[in-house]
């Protein structure tokens, strides 16, 4: 089971609303390389890992990805906080407002709703871990693109933190894959 910690893994305090940026960053909530997809991909894979290392690592990284969903959600909430309906319309979020009001909704940067087809499973530990390594690399690249799209330090700080976590997770998945290859698991 999971326990809630009443804090973010990394603080988010964004002073300036930026609706255009929110529309881009939403892809790390519900997009193909987003945190929601990563969390579910790892948590679904953990049941069939061949040993305790894999079960532990997928549980722990999958859990951390849920904390990243919360960081991205906090960023979206604060970037859109206090926006008027007119401002939302001008930023291309009129459709979002029509359907969801001011609620968050997991979608990609084009507005396509989150879909479980983002998650990659193959019923094979090597294939699964390698898709996780790919997921971490794609997320790292997406964070770099998002960092290219802003100069606001309040936004860059959590994006840089999240990008760095992809690098660490990639390393751990790589170690697990190499270990399984060596042990022929």
């Amino acid at each position: 089971m999971w326990k809630y910690e009443k804090k973010l893994q990394y603080p988010v305090n964004i002073r300036n609303k930026d609706l255009k940026l929110a529309k881009y960053i939403i892809t790390q909530y519900g997009g193909p390389a987003g945190e929601l997809a990563a969390a579910w991909q790892y948590l679904d894979q953990r049941y069939t890992m061949p040993d305790d290392r894999g079960k532990a690592l997928l549980t722990d990284i999958g859990t951390e990805e849920l904390a990243h969903v919360e960081i991205i959600s906090a960023m979206l909430f604060q970037l859109m906080e206090g926006a008027s309906v007119e401002e939302l319309k001008q930023a291309g979020l009129g459709e979002h407002y029509a359907q969801f009001g001011r609620d968050l909704y997991p979608a990609d940067a084009f507005g396509n709703p989150f879909t479980m087809t983002h998650i990659k499973l193959a019923g094979d530990p090597i294939a699964n871990i390698e898709s996780n390594m790919g997921a971490e690399q794609r997320a790292r690249a997406t964070y770099e693109h998002l960092m290219d799209l802003t100069n606001d330090p309040d936004v860059l700080a959590p994006l840089a933190f999240l990008r760095e976590r992809e690098i660490v997770h990639y390393q751990r998945f790589k170690e697990l894959r190499d270990y399984y290859l060596e042990k022929k698991m």
Partner: protein, 178 residues
């Protein structure tokens, strides 16, 4: 502006951190709280943007770690794995009030423990790192207690819920701007 006060941070946990130094010495850090050492330690760290250059191989154990705060602001406890993009140096956390400051201690120690937790999942036989994990876990528990005594529960299971009226539902919530 209200830059994060490293001295305050250091003094507060000086005693505990000194204990921790016994363990970090194993990783060539003579004093966890000494910013100069952090700078020296990070010399030669690969800071370019080429992701593929920052892999270390499984057999090589990390020779050094950042302290928990330096690791936390980077999102990475391992100098040989760290690289950055776009920004020239990591952002310091700038707590705007005592509550945010106490929460930063929780954040930093919990992060240190968590990043070592992931390492141990794939290196279960590294005794020094198990000790370091437990040091950070204890530091994190101390920091949580200190925060909760003043600002209420971070966990609904914590002793800080022994209040009337019920304090779990108090603001701020994590996503709220401080």
């Amino acid at each position: 502006m209200n830059t994060y006060n490293q001295n305050y941070y250091s003094n507060m946990y000086m005693e505990d951190m000194n204990n921790m130094n016994n363990i970090t010495n194993l990783y060539n850090m003579s004093n966890m709280n000494d910013m100069n050492n952090v700078k020296n330690m990070t010399k030669g760290v690969n800071n370019n943007n080429n992701f593929n250059k920052c892999n270390y191989v499984q057999e090589v154990k990390p020779t050094e770690l950042y302290n928990s705060y330096e690791g936390f602001i980077r999102g990475n406890m391992y100098p040989d794995l760290y690289n950055q993009y776009k920004v020239s140096k990591p952002f310091d956390v700038e707590p705007m009030n005592e509550q945010a400051q106490l929460l930063t201690y929780v954040d930093a120690y919990s992060f240190g423990a968590h990043d070592i937790n992931l390492y141990l999942d794939t290196h279960p036989d590294d005794k020094a790192m198990i000790d370091l994990y437990n040091q950070y876990r204890m530091e994190s528990e101390n920091a949580i207690k200190q925060y909760e005594d003043k600002f209420g529960p971070l966990f609904v299971s914590s002793e800080a819920t022994l209040t009337y009226p019920w304090s779990w539902n108090n603001s701020p919530w994590p996503w709220e701007n401080r």
